[in-house]
Structures are given as structure tokens and as C-alpha cells.
């Protein structure tokens, strides 16, 4: 009975199950892990935020970033969560989130048309003589200077996470003192004329 599962000898049902879970059917294959962006509408209050964050540690899910703020309805908060996993894990994340009494709406926007933005503050050591060089770089990213001292500059940059990554990368040539990222916020895109 051992032979039927050894090596590549999977039964058709086992192949189905692995594919449905997003797992590799090859013995040494890697599972396909994907980054997913979820938006969750939750009840206002610390209890709700606690429960959502707790769910990730309780169930052993990954949590890359969280951002929370007031939604249109002031009694609600909109959370944007970034997580990674295979299809089975993401399916579990979504269903377990939905099961929480405090969640009103859970949506995986990864494969939908959506807008993702992140805000980032970067503080860089910078003498007066370097300022113009640095500001030249910063202008390309349409970042703004939000604080200045004789030997430091603080920039604010907003955009998709890739742009923020690029900005922080460009700053590496200088002496970066501190970075603070907000985590992503995401929202579905309304389309009117695109198609």
C-alpha cells in the first residue's frame, strides 16, 4: 500500500487535492506562495483590531503589514492586511477572518483592480553642502521635505509599495537615520471608461 504514494505515484485524487491547495505535485517542488492584499472592514474599537491581529498568530498565518484607520462609516475601521501563503492558506485566512464576529466585510483585492498606497518617512543625515544633491533625487520621486535641521533631512514619500522600496533604495547611498513605513492601504478601483 506504500507504493501508491511514493515519489510521483500520486492518485488522481491526490493530484487534485494538491493542485486545489496550491501545493506542488512534485516531491521536491516548492509550494507557490503569493503575496495577498486583503481589506477588512471591522467594528470600531481595540477589541476588533486585537482579534484580527490575534487570529494571525493563533492560526500561524503570516502577517507582513497592517494598517488601520477610520472608514466612511465612523463606527467602522478599514484594515489593510498583507499576507503570504498558498491558495489553501489564503483561503483559510479569508474564511477565518470572516468567521470573526467583529468583521463586517473581508475582501482579497490582490487579483482585482485596486489601488495600493503606502506612506513613508525617511530621515537622512545630510550636511548643508549635500542638500541640493539629495533634494534632486527626492524630486524625481515627488517626495517632499517635511523636516530640516543643519545636519539632517526628513522626507515624506507616498506611492505604491514598489516606489517606496525604490526610494528607500536610492537613499541607501546616504546615511539613513530612520525609516517609518505606514504599511499598505488598499481600495478597489471603480472603473468607468477603461474597457
Amino acid at each position: 500500500m506504500q507504493t501508491q504514494t511514493a515519489g510521483m505515484g500520486l492518485t488522481p485524487q491526490q493530484v487534485f487535492r494538491k493542485q486545489a491547495a496550491g501545493e506542488s505535485i512534485h516531491p521536491d517542488g516548492q509550494d507557490v506562495l503569493q503575496r495577498h492584499v486583503l481589506t477588512v472592514l471591522v467594528e470600531n474599537g481595540l477589541g476588533a483590531l486585537n482579534r484580527v491581529a490575534n487570529l494571525f498568530s493563533q492560526r500561524g498565518f503570516h502577517l507582513e503589514s497592517v494598517s488601520v484607520g477610520e472608514a466612511k462609516d465612523q463606527s467602522l475601521r478599514r484594515m489593510t492586511l498583507v499576507t503570504t501563503g498558498n491558495d489553501r492558506m489564503i483561503g483559510q485566512v479569508l474564511r477565518q477572518l470572516n468567521n470573526l464576529v467583529d468583521t463586517i466585510e473581508v475582501e482579497d483585492v490582490t487579483h482585482l483592480d485596486h489601488i495600493e498606497r503606502e506612506l513613508c518617512l525617511v530621515q537622512v543625515r545630510c550636511s548643508a553642502s549635500e542638500r541640493h544633491v539629495l533634494i534632486g533625487v527626492v524630486d524625481i520621486f515627488r517626495a517632499t521635505v517635511v523636516n530640516i535641521t543643519p545636519d539632517s533631512l526628513t522626507f515624506e514619500v507616498t506611492g505604491p509599495p514598489a516606489k517606496v522600496n525604490a526610494f528607500i533604495g536610492m537613499m541607501r547611498d546616504y546615511d539613513v537615520l530612520e525609516v517609518a513605513r505606514s504599511g499598505r492601504v488598499a481600495m478597489r478601483r471603480e472603473l468607468a471608461f477603461e474597457h
Binding site: T5, Q13, A21, V101
Partner: protein
């Protein structure tokens, strides 16, 4: 009702409000007017909710509730347990046997934390409980006050939901919501934390008749398309098998499941919690599956081409190494919890819904099937390795369980503890009714059986089936204090202790997988004299040391009707639970008793 202004104008002089609210209550509380203290609101809410019994233990934070209980003489019964963990297990036993929501009331801090094991147990086994915990006054929360514990935080990952009452005006509606959430959908425990000042403050009492919680909903009927697909899959299958879990019993689907299985001639295997959902004396029953399931049930699983999972969750004790489990089976999975479906094994045909309603939808779509060949094959496996035990003059636990079955004809509620006794109780008693097998399956809580059996007996209110509590000598001591409560209430529990002077299941693993190094599992030096212990608690104590005395011991126990009987059976320590799928192994690597003998 315009309540806010009244509240603001009234000073919070406790004695005054209590007196006046009592008077107000007498006048017109039942029609919704008048002010009541939080403690009174609590009691009237439980009455309005139809609570029959509360298992509790008083303390500083809830003294107001107990005082009010004393004065108001509520319609529900309060049972003073001797440890809060015992209280939660009793409430679980009550809930599992009656299908109603169990209620626990404890004080803050240690009273609350003592409930944690019971709450976790209820969470794992989907048992509806509402646990009311006292809390220090609101203004002291976070101050490390005496007997303070952040119970909401502690229980966050082991509750279906929890509430901290921050305004006495929300108390009644919170209680309503708590019972609603605990008892509907996939049931589970709900904690309601009650700060002391909330119990002393006053508000008008109005118990809501309906609940609306915007983030909470659950499905009822299944998707008709999916059910049609399931019916087609059943028709096409050659070797179908029902795999039935505890959800079937919770939703009350045992009857319709039995009808469908018999009509379609499809054999049925049940999980530990599914025992009783299909009569085990039916030829279509192949008994329990999984780690200690029958040889023939596990063989059937490994060879079936269609597994129809009903209210089951593909637990690791069922599947063993999941990649190699049921390798040829398409899977139909019916469950009320969307997170259960495809959690461990992706289903070919998922059906989300209350399994009773789903099966009722399925029933008219299925046809009788000819499963003769398949049943012949299963019968062959059954004769290959039947569920049996040696009869060699030694006192073996299996023989005791069989004798209990023969004594009752299977018409009894069996509450098992955890370990070997639990598995023998599951394997050798023949379960024919739903809600007659109660155990701690998910969490595996030793010390569950005795208090849970007590809860079952309270739920039966004197009538009903005999209640048998099956224990090992390890677990029974973990909540032995509840024996005094059962005796005080004259509950005729039949408490069986299978005493092998060992932590038997751990010993079994040590013998099989850890080179017979019996590290700290010998209980002989710390075990009490169980007969004298029973007598000290006001129960009858009986001891049996030889197989020929089993019958007389059981007969003697059944003669006692006004108190618990403790039957200590001095069983041999060498007996092990078989068949066994070693932890993490594939189901095909099952070890049977006969193989073990050869080794």
C-alpha cells in the same frame, strides 16, 4: 424609553438604588419599566433567556449577583461546584446532552482563569457555553487590582466571541447576544466579563426578543447546485463511505443521516464525536475511524472512492499523515463552518450549510444503490481484525466496557475521560442514540468526565438514561472534588475507574515508541484508596479485582439510586489500545493487537 436623563439625575448611592429598584421591580419590571441594578438585570436576563441551570462559584467581584440571587430566588437552579474548571465541564456535559447552551458564573481573577481549560475544551469541541466572569470595577481595570485578570485577552483565541460590559444599559442586550452567538451556527463558548461597578449601577430592564449583529451570520440551507452534484457523485460511486462527525449530532441530523445511509446502502464510519449519530448495531456501521479506529473502518477509508463527510473536520487524529489518507476518494464535505471546509483536505464538492438541512435537501435526490460487493469486502476486513480482546482470567478494561453495554443495552449516556479509558469506551460500548457519547475530543482534557457526567445528570432532571462516567486513575483525580457535589444533589452517577496504576496512554506510547522507558507515568505511589475516597464524599465505593466479579459489581452499582457509585476496577497495566495508527504515520501503517502479540 428615555433612559439617559433618568440615569444622569440619579445618584449612584448603591443602597438607595437597590432598595428602590427592588420596589420598582415588584411594580412593573416585567413590562419593561423601572430601574434595576446590574445584578438584577443579570438574573432577570438569564430567566428571560430560559436558562435552567447555572454552574458557579462566588467571589468578591460577583458577590452582588449572588446576593441578588439569594433575595430574588430566580427560576433557574444554581449549582455550587467545588472548582471552576469542574463548573465549565459540567456546563459542557449539560450542553452536549441537552443541546442547550450551558451557563457558568465565576468571579474575577483566579475564578476566571480556572475556567480557561473548560473554555478551550468547549471551543475545540464546538460546545455552546456562556461563561460570565466577574471583573474588577471599570476604573481599576489595568491597575493590577486584587483578583484582576484580563480575561478577554486571556481567552481571545479560545472563544467564539467575548464581551466586556462597559455600560450597564448594554448588559441585557449583551447577554442576549452572548447566548445567540454561543448557540447558533457552529456553536462555541462566549465569555462575558462583568466589571463589579456594572453590577451595582442601575438601568431600566428590557430583555430584547431579537438580535442583530451586523458582523455575524451563518448559513442554513445548502446550495442546490452543489447538492445536485453531490447526489450525482453518490450515484456514480462504487465504494462510497459516510464519514460522520460531531456536527451531525449538534445539528440534529442523526435521524436523516440514518435514513439516507440505509436507503442508499452506504456504510457509515463515525469520528469520536460522531459516535451515536448512526446506530453501531446496524450492519452498515463500521465503527469509529482514525488513530484508534477499527481496522475495517480505516481499511474502508483507504479504499473508498467517495467519502461523504458530514459535520466532520478532518482532524489529525482521524487522518494521520494527511497526504496518504483516503488516496482514492473524491470528497463531498458538508459543514456549517466555511473555515472547516477544505481546511485540511480540499473537497471536490463542498457544501456549506446546516448539515441537517443539507441532508434533508439531499434525501429526495438519492436512489438506492447496490453496494453488495463493497460491503462484502468490508465484511472481509471486519473478520480479519474484529474488535475483540483476550479472555485469559485477567481483568481487562474492554470486558468491563462490554459488560456495561450489556447491562444497559446501549441505552445509557457514557461520558469518558481522556486516554486509554476514552478509547476503550469509544470502541467497546455500542452507541445507538445521538448525544449518548460525551467526551473531550479536541482538547483532550483529563478530568473532564466526572464533572461533565454531573452536568449530564443535572440536564436530565431525574429522568433519562443512566449516566456512566468512565475514567482512568489519572484523570479522575483531576476533578474529584465534584464527587461531593454529585453526592449532595443525590445524582445516581455510575462512576467507573479503570485503575491500572499508570497514566495508561502515555505508558502505551512509552512502551511502543520510547523504548519502554516509563518516565513519570507510574501512579501507584500517589493513588488514593478510591473506595474510601468515594465513601468520604458520601458516595458508594465498590472494588473489583477479578473478571468474574465484573457482573456482580455492576449489578450492585445499579441497585443504588440516591447517590453516585464509584466502581474501581483494578485492571492490568499491560493492556493497550489497538488498532493504532502511530502519530504522524499513514493510515495504512496501522498496528493491530495480533501483530503486537507476535512481536
Amino acid at each position: 424609553m428615555t433612559t439617559t436623563s433618568t440615569l444622569v439625575e440619579r445618584p449612584t448611592d448603591l443602597r438607595k438604588t437597590q432598595k428602590s429598584s427592588e420596589a420598582a421591580y415588584q411594580k412593573d419590571a416585567r413590562i419593561g419599566g423601572g430601574l434595576m441594578t446590574g445584578a438584577e438585570i443579570f438574573i432577570r436576563s438569564l430567566e428571560a433567556e430560559g436558562v435552567e441551570i447555572v454552574f458557579g462559584y462566588p467571589g468578591g467581584a460577583v458577590i452582588g449577583i449572588y446576593d441578588t440571587m439569594h433575595r430574588l430566588n430566580p427560576t433557574f437552579k444554581h449549582v455550587l461546584v467545588r472548582h471552576e474548571q469542574g463548573g465549565t465541564h459540567a456546563a459542557e456535559g449539560y450542553a452536549k446532552s441537552t443541546g442547550k447552551v450551558g451557563t457558568v458564573l465565576v468571579t474575577s481573577g483566579p475564578g476566571a482563569t480556572n475556567c480557561v481549560t473548560g473554555i478551550a475544551d468547549a471551543y475545540m469541541d464546538s460546545i455552546p457555553l456562556v461563561v460570565f466572569t466577574g471583573q474588577v470595577p471599570t476604573k481599576l481595570i489595568g491597575n493590577d487590582a486584587f483578583q484582576e485578570c484580563d480575561m478577554i485577552g486571556v481567552t481571545r483565541s479560545i472563544t467564539k466571541h467575548s464581551f466586556l460590559v462597559r455600560d450597564v444599559r448594554d448588559l441585557a442586550s449583551t447577554i442576549k447576544k452572548a447566548y445567540y452567538i454561543a448557540g447558533t451556527g457552529r456553536p462555541g463558548p462566549v465569555v462575558v466579563d462583568l466589571p463589579k461597578d456594572m453590577l451595582m449601577a442601575s438601568a431600566p430592564f428590557h430583555y430584547p426578543t431579537s438580535v442583530s449583529i451586523r458582523g455575524y451570520s451563518f448559513v442554513q440551507k445548502g446550495n442546490a447546485q452543489q447538492i445536485k452534484l453531490a447526489a450525482e457523485m453518490i450515484q456514480e460511486s462504487k465504494k462510497p463511505l459516510f464519514y460522520v462527525g460531531g456536527g451531525t449530532i449538534i445539528s440534529g441530523a442523526a435521524e436523516v443521516l440514518t435514513r439516507i445511509a440505509r436507503y442508499t446502502n452506504i456504510p457509515v464510519t463515525t469520528t469520536l464525536h460522531g459516535l451515536g449519530s448512526f446506530p453501531e448495531n446496524d450492519p452498515l456501521s463500521v465503527g469509529m475511524l482514525g488513530m484508534h479506529g477499527t481496522w475495517f473502518a480505516n481499511k474502508a477509508v483507504q479504499n473508498t472512492d467517495l467519502l461523504i463527510a458530514v459535520g466532520a473536520r478532518f482532524d489529525d487524529r482521524v487522518t494521520g499523515k494527511i497526504e496518504a489518507w483516503a488516496p482514492h476518494a473524491k470528497i463531498i464535505h458538508m459543514d456549517i463552518d466555511p473555515a472547516c471546509i477544505s481546511k485540511n483536505v480540499p473537497a471536490n464538492c463542498p457544501i456549506l450549510g446546516d448539515v441537517k438541512l443539507v441532508l434533508e435537501q439531499l434525501e429526495p435526490l438519492v436512489e438506492p444503490k447496490d453496494t453488495t460487493d463493497w460491503m462484502v469486502q468490508i465484511e472481509k476486513w471486519r473478520t480479519e481484525c474484529p474488535m475483540d480482546f483476550k479472555r485469559d482470567g485477567k481483568l481487562r478494561p474492554q470486558e468491563i466496557i462490554r459488560a456495561l453495554r450489556d447491562k444497559t443495552g446501549g441505552h445509557a449516556t457514557v461520558v469518558t475521560d481522556v486516554g486509554q479509558n476514552q478509547m476503550w469506551g469509544a470502541q467497546f460500548f455500542t452507541y445507538i442514540h445521538p448525544r449518548t457519547h460525551i467526551t473531550s475530543g479536541g482538547l483532550g482534557t483529563m478530568g473532564f468526565s466526572l464533572p461533565a457526567a454531573m452536568g449530564v445528570a443535572f440536564g436530565q432532571k431525574g429522568g433519562g438514561l443512566p449516566v456512566i462516567s468512565i475514567n482512568g486513575d489519572g484523570g479522575v483525580l483531576m476533578n474529584i472534588q465534584e464527587l461531593g457535589v454529585a453526592a449532595a444533589h443525590k445524582l445516581p452517577l455510575k462512576v467507573v475507574i479503570l485503575n491500572n496504576s499508570y497514566l495508561g496512554m502515555v505508558r502505551q506510547w512509552q512502551e511502543l515508541f520510547h523504548g519502554e522507558r516509563y518516565s513519570h507515568t507510574d501512579l501507584s505511589t500517589t493513588n488514593p484508596d478510591f473506595v474510601r475516597l468515594a465513601e468520604a464524599f458520601g458516595c458508594v465505593g465498590l472494588r473489583c479485582e477479578r473478571p468474574e466479579d465484573i457482573q456482580a459489581t455492576i449489578d450492585a452499582a445499579w441497585e443504588v439510586h440516591d447517590r453516585p457509585v464509584v466502581m474501581e476496577f483494578k485492571v492490568i497495566m499491560e493492556e493497550k489500545v489497538f488498532p493504532m495508527v502511530p502519530s504522524g504515520a499513514t493510515t495504512d501503517e496501522m498496528i493491530t493487537a495480533s501483530e503486537e502479540d507476535i512481536n
